[in-house]
Symmetry: C2
Subunit: 191 residues, 2 copies
């Protein structure tokens, strides 16, 4: 048996790899099982190695995860009505959240920071440019709608249940209801 030094990891750490692994664990086994040591194992690294890339430790990790799943972007290049832009942003937000139900509670709870905050401002700007007067209020309403819809969808998917058949959170019915409610909300914003 050759004593392998086992020092440097096969592939170096990076913030992106950390985030991916963390999301994988949280989505697969729940937030409670996302621990530094487990995350280190998944990355073939000791837990403390993570602190070099996230100096504030787990707090920073959770912040980054929340930021990651709430940061979306809609291409402003082609012209569109503010209604269509709002729809696009809402769909993008829903998709991003549904992709990672494991960190949903963070996304709904933590105040937006960093890129997520920038995305919110950009959304408001796009809606204002497209002719909507109270863009800030509209963004709040849209965010509330997306958050609530996704929360209910994930609840009904039985994601948090220990033994429930963990069917995918995305269902055709969920999407239909989402679009219906989105229409209602946007028509409500028109007045």
């Amino acid at each position: 048996m050759i004593a392998v030094p086992a020092k440097r990891p096969p592939v170096p750490l990076s913030l992106e790899r950390i985030i991916d692994a963390a999301l994988h664990i949280a989505d697969g086994q729940g937030l409670r099982r996302l621990t530094m040591r487990r995350l280190g194992d998944a990355l073939q690294v000791e837990a403390m190695a993570i602190y070099h890339h996230l100096p504030r430790g787990k707090e920073a990790l959770l912040d980054v995860l929340a930021e990651h799943v709430t940061t979306v972007h809609v291409d402003p290049s082609e012209p569109a009505s503010w209604q269509d832009r709002a729809r696009a942003w809402a769909r993008a937000g829903r998709t991003a959240l549904l992709e990672h139900p494991g960190v949903l509670s963070l996304a709904l709870t933590k105040p937006p920071k960093g890129s997520a905050l920038i995305a919110i401002r950009e959304q408001a700007e796009q809606l204002r440019d497209a002719g909507l007067a109270d863009a800030a209020g509209a963004v709040r309403a849209l965010r509330a709608y997306v958050f609530g819809s996704v929360a209910v969808e994930v609840q009904q998917s039985g994601w948090a249940d220990p033994d429930a058949t963990v069917r995918d959170a995305r269902t055709a019915e969920g999407e239909r209801e989402f679009e219906d409610g989105l229409d209602a909300l946007i028509s409500g914003l028109e007045r």
Copy 2:
């Protein structure tokens, strides 16, 4: 110094006292600081005493807390349109959630159980009795709306921020926006 046995607690434990103390801690210092030992201290009791009233430990505690803040009731005695009933349920839900921002993430994430589930069914029944065809869909939409609204309200109150001036989550502006959106949603459900 007389060695006091320090045995029996001054006032015996009960599930209600446990829930109250837990909510107080979670609202005051955040979910992360709600620990069994701290909860025991607040109740003048050793941590393990709690397990006698909540055999499944912390898991059970969090379930009960989520259930507590999502269980609301609206008196069905006096007749009203389904629209008014829906409004009453939504307001009650919002109020209950805003009273305990510390456990909001649990309420939004955990699937409804026990009394919370019963309340949901009762809500659907009341709406159906008042003449609404798709009562189940309406309840889902109302829950989604309440959840999302409260989530952004609490986010904006800066509750989760470590240093932000923790102004009360309930603001006049928040209530106005809530009522506006509620009107829009209900008018959307009418079709």
